[in-house]
Symmetry: C2
Subunit: 223 residues, 2 copies
């Protein structure tokens, strides 16, 4: 079906924000967007409202609209919830995954291994996402999968930070192997626990993460 201008605009902006082409705190000038996309204010307004609803954009009345700037406190809260959702996906997947999905998951892991072997961080980041999405699907709870996917999107602008911690890629891959093994043998408890920790960047690494975030300074601190 044909997509409306508002939808295309929304997707384009979302993509820009998620992939860091528009940084948190950056101003979004409706006028400029009208010109860039050659549409009137109506669809622009609509697109922005949708982004506000999904938490990627904030509008301050009479001040302007900005790419959402998530404070460190809230970021930690969001990761806490993300960890829970991922853990739940793992738990359910361990119980409910079928042969076909298991194959898909194995393939996803292989692609992660390939990217890691090549030392390609960006590629690894992309394949990592595929691995996680495969687990979401395997939970056989479509609603949960969608919620997890959305929250992951919302965290995406900040998520790269995780992998920038030294040697994170290798650690991540090792964890993926453990997670898959747990799901493979139907160990729901282990899968849940491993995934939760995986997201929380286990234990001592978390402080590294916070420290590395802090280096971003004002970009993250303010409202």
């Amino acid at each position: 079906m044909k997509r409306s201008n508002a939808q295309r605009l929304r997707d384009a902006l979302e993509d820009d924000i998620i992939n860091g082409r528009r940084a948190p705190g950056e101003r979004l000038d409706p006028e400029a967007l009208c010109q860039d996309f050659e549409v009137s204010r109506t669809p622009v307004r609509e697109a922005i409202q949708q982004l506000v609803a999904s938490g990627l954009v904030t509008v301050t009345p009479k001040k302007g609209t900005f790419v959402a700037r998530v404070g460190l406190d809230q970021l930690i809260e969001m990761f806490e919830v993300m960890a829970e959702l991922e853990g739940m996906c793992g738990r359910l997947a361990a119980r409910r995954i079928n042969e076909e999905e298991l194959v898909t998951l194995h393939e996803a892991l292989v692609r992660c291994e390939t990217a890691e072997a090549a030392g390609d961080t960006n590629e690894y980041y992309y394949e990592n996402e595929g691995f996680h999405h495969a687990i979401y699907s395997a939970s056989h709870n479509g609603f949960l999968a969608e919620e997890a996917r959305q929250l992951k999107q919302r965290l995406k602008p900040y998520r790269r930070l995780q992998l920038q911690v030294r040697k994170r890629m290798g650690r991540s891959l090792a964890e993926h192997r453990e997670i898959l093994a747990a799901i493979d043998r139907g160990d729901a408890e282990a899968a849940e626990h491993l995934l939760r920790e995986h997201v929380l960047i286990q234990g001592e690494r978390f402080s590294d993460f916070v420290a590395s975030v802090r280096r971003f300074g004002a970009q993250l601190d303010a409202v």
Copy 2:
């Protein structure tokens, strides 16, 4: 600050849907809404979009807009997630609750007891909500609390069904006491488990729930 027509309209519709004054599947005629609220299509359209974003309304292109009709499958999925979020709130609350919040929670329980003693189902339903919200807050994770609150809203049109099961009110209250006790003694595991089961309408009761839902027939089955 002054609220826009779109906001008021959105709130009014949301309230109508959540409290069952507009049943799932019911048609929302934009024209009629324009007249009822004496506004033009623009704010109506805006309000509807927001409701779509929050999942309370669905628009089928060229067919019309309707109060979201949640299929039984998805309803179960949503309750599964709700249970997880509630459990998480309980776990965190058991660790993080402070004196003041503990008092609030005790008070909320007392109000539940009063309502139960009076046999007032509606009142109990209301106070029950207060009890749960108090736990959300006590999790000290604002993001989690908000997500839980939103999902609860979305389930509200179907949630009354839970309490209609015979003697559910008494059982619910007993569970509340156990939950509070667990939080009180800082037993995170117990609080999590109890709350999760509390939402899932523990064990054998779940089939009763499904059965009672089925009696609603087509209202819940279709898309």
